[in-house]
Symmetry: C2
Subunit: 463 residues, 2 copies
């Protein structure tokens, strides 16, 4: 397979022409990576054996005349795949088509994921379904896979504006170009991660190596990319995620593992509480590194693989929060002492979407009253909330002592100067102990603040 | 009863010193009424017989050295009362105390409502409860009511910052001053309506006359005041409402009537989805105009009175939306064709709190995709949503033809120029027909947009 290798330098250059945190609405553009975000973009990586990545320029949005907006991630051999899709009642065409493809194949024999940014292909009727299917079929045509009678082998994803049809001819035309550019270098992966971005200010790519007790001498690799950055809330948002590993994992273990991991990662973040029509996270496993296959949840190695995947997906999901639209803060919500896990998660999710909490965080205001207030109006968590038992603290990200705001329902005499210092830091943990009860349940959730920039970004998204 | 009569002009003057839409955070202040809002402030009114109103300056917030922040609404004779309180698990002291007072009295023999702005007396422990009770008792002491063995006769409300104790001595000290200033003029009512305001840009006061078929020759009057303007969402927000009528209504009819009316008015509005610790709407009926008492829901006159009250409460609630923090738009959401009423209301409520929908409205962007998206992630409304059946239109407020955005799941070729014209108007109706089904259910909800100013207001509320 012939490879062109764009340098990482070139990719950075295209991001660094502008100083402001300009965002490119529904198509990747020539924006700078804000200095504070550059540390989240890897300069090298280890990528799973037998996976290749590439991008190409289509110009899905007519105004995008230069930047890659088509991404292709492929396995050199047919692989196993699983996916988690949006629960929105309005599901975009690529969601419907990809779910169908995976179902027909029982998640095996998959070759590639093809993604376009710039248009979501959502609420586009039968024509939209045909477009999504055509994208997948055209991708299939690039591979010399035997017809196994199970139909299409490529999954399709789209992200961008809702209600507009894809420029399908232009996309089809460029799939072979992307295919011929496939490669396994860091630059290939980074460029591909960038092509799926919309309002993101930086590409989100991670990779990691690990071992499994079931095959102790084998080094496995996992890599993944995702994109945000608005409409993010469980389940799941205009977010896309693609995770690839060369570990040998089969279905049903693969789907089960992904669903568990998503629950504690992509379904535990919120930017603005909106959940979209297109959200999809796919996990591909080609077994190229060898070893014993993990086939079911009882297989040796499942638990360690689950742990590895959940951690990895969590780190990917956190990158989405780091790049929340207009975000200036990264906030961890830790809810402890709940009567059960769903209550803990509901409380976290409710606080995470409260505009009053989020604007107070933006204003660096230790307004715990709003945190309490959001806790108190959480639906379906009555069993976990006793006003006289609740304690709220800020846990500083520099490891210094927590600042107690409320202890067992009693407001503390808060050192506002210290509160101000803690809120000056980019990272903050809000710790809510609902109760000291033995065996109480915990939920951890990640969110960001709500700024003027969020309003600016979303008030003229389409213009 | 000796009366001082402050002129309406004086009240206006104190509001009109500044040109910008400055808001006074948790205490009424010297802000101008924005020119566009002046039409919502009545210059005269008819007030119910036997009710009196007054305000006084306490300086609940130390920074408030000049503006009235204590309000007193009294009935010349003991009257019937009902109230609806916040459902937040953290209920402010005045909520707990007032609920208790009404319960002990079975809603009869009530003399007054005493309200302070500037401090919510919420999450203030046992001390806060004692403060709220003391406010009510001190108000009682002004009246020469016989002890009927049912305890306190005055209801108490507070609004403002959470987690701070009331300056109770200062408040107690000023209750007799407010009492001695009680009066029934329009200026009294307007001044009182202003004293309960926090971040409001204008006082919210309405009055109206009506007749009942049960006493056709009698003219009745209803008057009410309310305040917003953030943390507004069912049920119910840092909002307070006091409605008084001289119609003869007894309990249980009074409570039932109020609960029904609130459901379709104050519980059908949303500014930001946050619901607070203090929300209370009270209804007082003293029967001073005479006529046959409406005692139960079967009493003659109940239906007409219910209709009158619901309409009145709806108009009051709409004033809160008109003054939503940072709001530039007044949006009516009309959901039709639902499988049941709760589903219709859940969909309306979900759209009303979507930051993406609200910022698009602020940006005058006909982004129906976001409206659809919010519809699609509504929890508990699956039975009402079929993607192929839904239609979405903008209904212009000038009576011109509706603009169809989506018809039975098919995006329309939208005239963006026309969409822009419609979105230029302050008022907008978004009409969502879920289905053409016979006998489908409807819900109407009122909300506003989400602007930079909302962020500004709420990022430094406490400073």
């Amino acid at each position: 397979m012939a490879l062109k290798r764009p340098s990482a330098k070139r990719i950075f250059a295209s991001f660094t022409n502008m100083a402001s945190q300009a965002r490119h609405y529904s198509a990747p553009g020539e924006s700078s990576i804000p200095p504070a975000k550059q540390k989240y973009v890897p300069t090298s990586g280890n990528y799973p054996k037998g996976f290749l990545a590439a991008s190409a320029h289509v110009g899905v949005k007519a105004s995008n005349t230069r930047f890659d907006d088509l991404a292709l991630i492929a396995s050199e051999t047919p692989c196993n795949a699983a996916a988690v899709f949006t629960k929105n009642k309005f599901q975009a065409a690529p969601v419907t088509v990809s779910r169908d493809i995976l179902q027909k194949r029982s998640g095996s024999g998959v070759r590639a994921v093809v993604v376009n940014s710039g248009c979501a292909n959502a609420v586009t009727g039968k024509g939209g379904l045909a477009d999504a299917e055509q994208m997948a079929k055209e991708t299939d045509r690039c591979f010399d896979s035997e017809d196994d009678g199970l139909g299409i082998r490529s999954i399709v994803m789209s992200t961008g504006v809702i209600g507009q049809r894809l420029p399908i001819k232009k996309i089809i035309h460029k799939i072979p170009s992307a295919y011929s550019d496939l490669g396994s270098s860091h630059a290939h992966w980074l460029r591909t991660a960038r092509a799926i971005c919309t309002t993101d200010t930086f590409p989100k790519l991670l990779s990691r190596q690990f071992t499994l007790p079931s095959s102790p001498s084998t080094t496995y690799t996992i890599a993944g990319m995702t994109k945000g950055a608005g409409m993010i809330h469980p389940n799941m948002a205009t977010l896309l995620g693609i995770i690839c590993t060369d570990a040998p994992i089969g279905n049903p273990a693969l789907q089960s593992m992904l669903s568990n991991a998503i629950d504690k990662s992509f379904n535990s973040i919120s930017i603005d509480g909106d959940t979209s029509t297109n959200d999809t996270v796919a996990l591909l496993a080609n077994g190229a590194a060898g070893g014993t296959e993990i086939k079911t949840t009882d297989s040796p190695g499942f638990d360690k693989m689950q742990e590895t995947l959940t951690d990895f997906a969590t780190d990917l999901a956190k990158l989405v929060v780091r790049d929340g639209e207009g975000a200036t803060k990264f906030v961890t919500l830790r809810i402890q002492g709940a009567a059960n896990e769903p209550s803990a998660k509901r409380i976290a999710s409710t606080i995470a979407r409260s505009p009053l909490v989020k604007t107070a965080l933006y204003g660096k205001d230790a307004n715990w009253g709003r945190i309490l207030c959001a806790t108190g109006y959480t639906e379906g968590a009555d069993d976990s909330i006793e006003p006289e038992e609740i304690s709220v603290s800020f846990v500083p990200s520099d490891g210094s002592a927590e600042l107690k705001l409320l202890v067992k329902g009693e407001p503390q005499n808060v050192d506002e100067k210290r509160a101000g210092e803690i809120l000056e830091m980019e990272d903050l943990e809000i710790l809510i102990k609902l109760n000291d009860r033995e065996g109480g349940f915990e939920s951890v959730f990640w969110t960001c603040d709500f700024s003027h920039e969020y309003v600016t970004i979303n008030a003229d998204y389409r213009t």
